[in-house]
């Protein structure tokens, strides 16, 4: 499997999970859960793709992790910014922390992943 594809899948799965977990961590968001999950999944897919491409170009575990962390944080920050801009609560911790960690995980995984002729 190629690294961008692997990153995208992993990011997507984690994104879905990340979105669904809002039900537990912020039950008042339940009415908007569909859009939260879609948004979170999209964010995960995008992060996974970017990090996967990066892993293809740069073969370095530390750099991959740092890049993943930055991408995860940046995309999460964007979501927080959009929340705040639309007058909703920011959920800084609930979004920034998991988002960054998901980026880090994808960064690590894509660096360790071995591309094999499928």
């Amino acid at each position: 499997m190629k690294k961008p594809l692997y990153g995208t899948i992993l990011g997507g799965v984690l994104g879905v999970f990340d979105g669904l977990s809002a039900l537990a961590s912020a039950p008042e968001t339940a009415p908007q859960i569909a859009s939260i999950v879609i948004g979170s999944t999209f964010k995960g897919l995008l992060a996974g793709l970017l990090i996967g491409f990066f892993a293809r170009k740069v073969k370095s575990l530390p750099l991959g992790i740092v890049f993943g962390l930055i991408v995860g944080f940046a995309l999460a920050a964007l979501v927080v910014y959009m929340n705040v801009a639309s007058g909703q609560p920011g959920y800084y911790w609930q979004i920034l922390l998991p988002g960054s960690l998901v980026g880090l995980i994808v960064g690590y995984a894509t660096q360790r992943h071995r591309e094999q002729p499928a």
Partner: protein, 323 residues
């Protein structure tokens, strides 16, 4: 009468033995320097090749043969080996018979340390990688139809620059082994005599020890490699074998050749699978073993995801408290 001559001391015995076996090859060609090793089949000396002005290892077999057949066989072997070019195979330069009938051959003098002298306590993964490299030249030879027949820690040298070299190709084993039925019977003798101290016995495949030379093929080497693998693991920092690795050793050292890996490359591949935490051919794992292996293989990832989940939990708890 000599019956009552005083017995020799251990020291005198050693010196006499050295003296009695000192070879006298053509003085125009070789000058024998010192003994560098001794084994069940022969003794190895450092010698100067006077014609080519280089040092070589000269191995002299303990016993010769009365017939001229041996010389012919040695020459034939050397011919085969001359075509076996691989960085892990130490080439034979020359073969011949000493005036007293003992066969000898010369080969490249390898600087390094025999595997037998390897200090214990290195990491198992390191030694398994080393093992895979030992398999390379053997696998190459197998692909060319050549069987080593005497693989053991003394025949593997670790060069000063990380080279892995396999010595004593074919010649030594075949040279000393009479293939006539009578000799095969003698080899088949259930004997645990002192000659076995030399260690080769523990590495020799059963069919080979029984003298069934007609059945000896690459799988006999696989057997010896399996023993070598077990030896390496036993001197590593983790001598207890996981089940998959034990299964590899078991398969390589199966009593019947049919139960073993086909050749050295198949064995090496399975060891590499083990190293990569892939499922090995020799062992069908159950669900629990599979989970454990996958966990080991992806340990950091599993731990990261666990950390993520813990963080999620902490966020939930934190929110529950602040409300």
């Amino acid at each position: 009468m000599s019956t009552n001559a005083p017995g020799l001391s251990d020291q005198a015995l050693e010196r006499l033995r050295d003296a009695a076996e000192l070879p006298e090859p053509d003085p125009a060609r070789y000058a024998v320097r010192e003994r560098i090793g001794r084994g069940g089949m022969g003794t190895v000396y450092r010698a100067r090749d006077l014609r080519l002005q280089r040092d070589v290892a000269l191995k002299v077999l303990h016993v010769g043969e009365d017939s001229g057949e041996l010389a012919a066989r040695l020459t034939r072997e050397a011919g085969i080996l001359a075509h076996l070019e691989h960085p892990g195979i130490v080439p034979v330069h020359d073969v011949g018979i000493l005036a007293d009938g003992r066969p000898y051959y010369t080969m490249k003098l390898v600087q390094g340390q025999p595997l037998a002298d390897l200090a214990p306590g290195r990491s198992r993964a390191d030694l398994l990688r080393l093992f895979a490299r030992i398999c390379e030249p053997v696998a190459f030879a197998h692909s060319r139809g050549v069987v080593h027949r005497d693989l053991k820690p003394h025949n593997v040298m670790l060069g000063e620059f990380g080279e892995v070299l396999v010595l004593d190709w074919g010649v030594s084993k075949r040279a000393g082994q009479n293939d006539s039925p009578a000799a095969s019977n003698a080899v088949a003798t259930p004997d645990t005599g002192a000659g076995r101290v030399l260690g080769t016995q523990g590495y020799m495949a059963p069919e080979q020890a029984r003298g069934e030379s007609a059945y000896v093929d690459a799988r006999a080497d696989v057997y010896s490699l399996g023993k070598l693998l077990a030896h390496l693991v036993s001197v590593s920092d983790a001598p207890r074998m996981p089940r998959a690795l034990a299964a590899i050793v078991r398969k390589a050292t199966a009593p019947q050749p049919e139960g073993r890996y086909m050749d050295a490359s198949h064995l090496a591949r399975d060891v590499q699978r083990f190293l990569a935490a892939d499922p090995v051919e020799a062992h069908r794992e159950n669900a629990w073993e599979q989970t454990l292996r996958l966990y080991r293989r992806h340990r950091p990832l599993v731990l990261l995801i666990a950390a993520y989940l813990v963080m999620r939990l902490v966020l939930i708890l934190w929110r529950a408290r602040t409300e």
